[in-house]
């Protein structure tokens, strides 16, 4: 990258180029990073690059900023990512990095902003940048409102994600289509560590099974009635809205919550988790749950550290540092660790529960794929037999390209 001539593109004439185009010290790009950048160039410096977690998306964006040499705005979802981008920039660029968010409001030639600060600042500074980088770009149109990108005049745009949404939508309109995409499996053994995904079937204890059947039946009966009324065309949102208007509907929703809470962490999962943690004692392990209540329950039972949105920034930083040094080896979380977090290297992921989102599954697996010589990551997925969770697991696997090993050893 350093050997290539740095020149501003024709599409951005008016910007103070010298501020950004000088004094970069970037590491060499890997083959897929070079390919991604080339595709972006060919696509007219617009579009989304989809690379797996841990494969170096940030470096591609930094190379693009260095290459264009124009003022750039990087928008990120969280304050944690804001810190990480600012740190990454200051490691390879000598200028002062602007920051918008987390109590700091300073605009620079290269500025990192949280989505929420960008909402406030875009009307005022939207004309100052020639390039905009959208990190975790799959959030455009939801967490990152499309209006923010509409208020930016930057002609060059790059979206970064590990899990691109379907074509079209606001992301396509505001940033561009996916112009380069590579999956986890294409990079394992190269830029990412090898891994194995093991699904562990969990049996409910007899009283749990009875309880599950009762509550599931109670819910399914009411749901089917509503679906028949709507002739099958009913979204979950519509169901909830109509169900909350009747006693029967409210009871059905309570039953749904109840059986979901049961399969989130039944006795079988509790035993399996203990056994897995014993088996991998001393190895850095991430435990993913479907909700915060389960994360806290595990933390309470096993005295391990939970990472949730309620754990403050200072404590989180301390915990991650302890995890990095090996002082603690297990972290449990429902969503916070899924994405947007520069986690230290971990070897084992145990998925105790989650939604049916294939996107989230890819993000979670990506957490243990940071390469290291000889590393073989292990991802365990606990799935309760003969329950709705099996369907969730099936849908989650749709986002992966490799076969999954079913293990019956842990019960």
């Amino acid at each position: 990258m350093a050997d290539e001539p740095v020149r501003p593109p024709d599409i951005w004439e008016g910007a103070p180029k010298v501020q950004v185009s000088s004094a970069w010290q970037l590491p060499p790009l890997r083959w897929y990073q070079q390919a991604a950048l080339a595709h972006w160039r060919i696509a007219g410096q617009r579009g989304v690059i989809a690379l797996p977690t841990g494969s170096g998306k940030t470096l591609v964006a930094l190379a693009a900023i260095a290459e264009l040499g124009v003022p750039a705005l990087i928008v990120v979802p969280t304050c944690v990512l804001l810190d990480q981008w600012a740190e990454a920039l200051s490691r390879c660029w000598q200028g002062e990095v602007g920051r918008l968010g987390d109590g700091e409001y300073r605009v620079g030639a290269i500025t990192v902003s949280t989505y929420s600060s960008a909402v406030i600042w875009a009307p005022r500074i939207g004309d100052r940048f020639g390039l905009v980088i959208v990190d975790e770009a799959h959030h455009v149109g939801a967490w990152c409102p499309g209006e923010v990108l509409e208020m930016l005049v930057a002609p060059a745009r790059m979206g970064l994600t590990a899990t691109p949404p379907p074509p079209g939508g606001e992301l396509g309109e505001r940033v561009g289509p996916v112009i380069y995409s590579i999956g986890v499996d294409a990079l394992t053994g190269d830029a990412l560590a090898e891994y194995e995904l093991v699904t562990i079937p969990i049996a409910l204890a007899p009283p749990e099974r009875v309880h599950y059947r009762t509550q599931r039946g109670r819910f399914a009966h009411v749901y089917a009635k509503h679906a028949r009324r709507q002739r099958g065309e009913m979204s979950w949102h519509q169901f909830v809205r109509t169900a909350t208007r009747t006693t029967e509907g409210r009871e059905a929703l309570e039953a749904w919550k109840d059986y979901r809470a049961l399969i989130a962490y039944p006795t079988g999962k509790q035993a399996a988790l203990r056994e897995l943690l014993a088996r991998h004692r001393g190895e850095r392990t991430l435990v993913f749950t479907g909700d915060n209540a389960t994360a806290y329950r595990i933390a309470r039972e096993l005295l391990v550290v939970p990472i949730t949105h309620e754990i403050g920034r200072v404590e989180r930083t301390q915990v991650l540092e302890r995890f990095r040094t090996g002082e603690i080896t297990v972290l449990v979380s429902s969503q916070v660790l899924d994405e947007g977090f520069d986690l230290p290297d971990a070897d084992i992921a145990i998925i105790v529960g989650g939604s049916s989102s294939a996107r989230r599954q890819v993000q979670r697996i990506g957490r243990v794929l940071r390469p290291r010589p000889g590393k073989q990551a292990l991802v365990y997925e606990l799935a309760v037999d003969d329950t709705t969770e099996i369907e969730y697991v099936r849908r989650r696997r749709a986002g992966l390209e490799r076969p999954v090993r079913a293990a019956g050893g842990v019960r």
Binding site: E254, A278, E301, L302, L303, E315
Partner: protein, 377 residues
């Protein structure tokens, strides 16, 4: 927004029976996580709308208070106790016992304090015992009014007798307002609501909510707020008799006006703090400071250490949240009051647009004295 406005109902004696039942549930859940209490509340047959129940639960949280201290204790404790997984009961018990011995507390205290800062995980506690229903009603009213004004387009407070405290608080928080005299002898404060602004609505709303506790000390007042919840316009009318918690005197940092007054006095100026309001037609203006500047012979007398006659009175008002339009309005009001020597000091962080005017000076955090002296020199 819906054309049909609904009225927000506050809490009164009619709510006592179901609040009593809710308190029973709370007492029954003491020591257990809030999550458990909320599940019990969800299944209880309380004769109240869920939003009213939630308001009273927030009032309970207010009463049990002390989040900052809880956060520190819980964070330190988690750092001490949480670590490698305790895979059997003995390992778990041993770790909790060590922490309890280290801190000189019981093991159950360690378990409950571990999560004391997390909204749903912390244990339910009532440190001062079961509160009377009236106390919960008072705190619930405070919560409901504060939530309403945070979502208000406009707020009007009409106060008799002790209006000065309210007006000064409005000024201290830098709220956009104008003050006038009403036909019934009342002072009318028209305060712009946060939803009428484009920026800083949350900060502004919180500042506006700080006015509400002061109403407890007003013997005779009326508050009208036009609010918006989920796109539906709602109106709130508050007037005594009304249960509100008694105002606790708070230790607060000196205001910008107080600090400026101190700086001016150090520089040997004669300063009057919070001078009487000035009549500007039907309205009132409330300058923060009045300064008597020596002119002519008096200036040389002052320099010689003997103050004499010949002073010019300058008025200073500190303006917080503002727009150029609001600043123009302020200057007009002072002109209508016959005041020429006015300086508006504008918080540059809280204004959307500064007015280019010789009597409008921007500042950040603290007012630079030399800038101010430049005006009257």
């Amino acid at each position: 927004m819906s054309a049909v406005a609904t009225e927000i109902r506050l809490f009164d004696q009619r709510d006592v029976p179901w609040i009593g039942s809710l308190l029973d549930l709370i007492v029954h859940s003491l020591g257990q996580p809030w999550r458990v209490l909320l599940e019990r509340v969800a299944h209880a047959d309380l004769e109240a709308h869920p939003s009213r129940v939630q308001t009273v639960l927030r009032a309970v949280r207010r009463l049990t208070g002390g989040k900052a201290e809880r956060t520190r204790v819980a964070r330190d404790l988690r750092a001490l106790v949480l670590g490698h997984p305790a895979l059997d009961r003995d390992a778990r018990d041993a770790r909790l016992s060590i922490a309890a011995t280290t801190l000189g507390v019981s093991r159950s205290d360690v378990e409950s304090l571990l999560w004391a800062d997390l909204a749903l995980e912390r244990p339910v506690v009532l440190p001062s015992g079961r509160p009377p229903e009236a106390a919960l009603i008072a705190h619930a009213n405070l919560d409901r009014i504060q939530r309403a004004v945070r979502r208000a387009r406009s707020v009007q407070i009409r106060a008799w007798d002790r209006a000065n405290d309210l007006v000064r608080t409005v000024a201290r928080y830098g709220l956009i307002s104008h003050v006038s005299r009403g036909a019934r002898g009342e002072t009318i404060l028209d305060v712009t609501g946060p939803l009428a602004l484009f920026h800083t609505t949350t900060v502004y709303g919180s500042a506006l909510a700080q006015l509400v506790p002061l109403l407890a000390e007003q013997p005779h007042f009326e508050l009208d707020a036009v609010c918006e919840f989920d796109g539906i316009e709602q109106t709130l009318r508050v007037e005594p008799p009304l249960l509100l918690p008694a105002v606790r005197p708070s230790r607060r940092a000196p205001s910008i006006a107080e600090r400026l007054a101190r700086d001016l006095q150090k520089a040997k100026y004669v300063v009057e703090r919070e001078p009487s309001p000035l009549e500007a037609g039907d309205e009132l203006v409330f300058p923060d400071l009045a300064i008597d500047i020596a002119v002519g012979d008096a200036a040389s007398d002052m320099a010689a250490g003997s103050p004499g006659a010949g002073f010019e009175r300058w008025w200073i008002e500190i303006v917080g949240f503002s727009t150029a339009e609001y600043l123009t309005y302020k200057l007009d009001r002072y002109q209508a009051a016959g005041v020429e020597r006015i300086v508006l000091l504008v918080d540059a962080d809280r204004t959307t647009e500064l007015l280019d005017h010789p009597r409008v000076l921007p500042f950040r955090r603290r007012v630079p004295l030399d800038l101010l002296e430049g005006v009257w020199r």
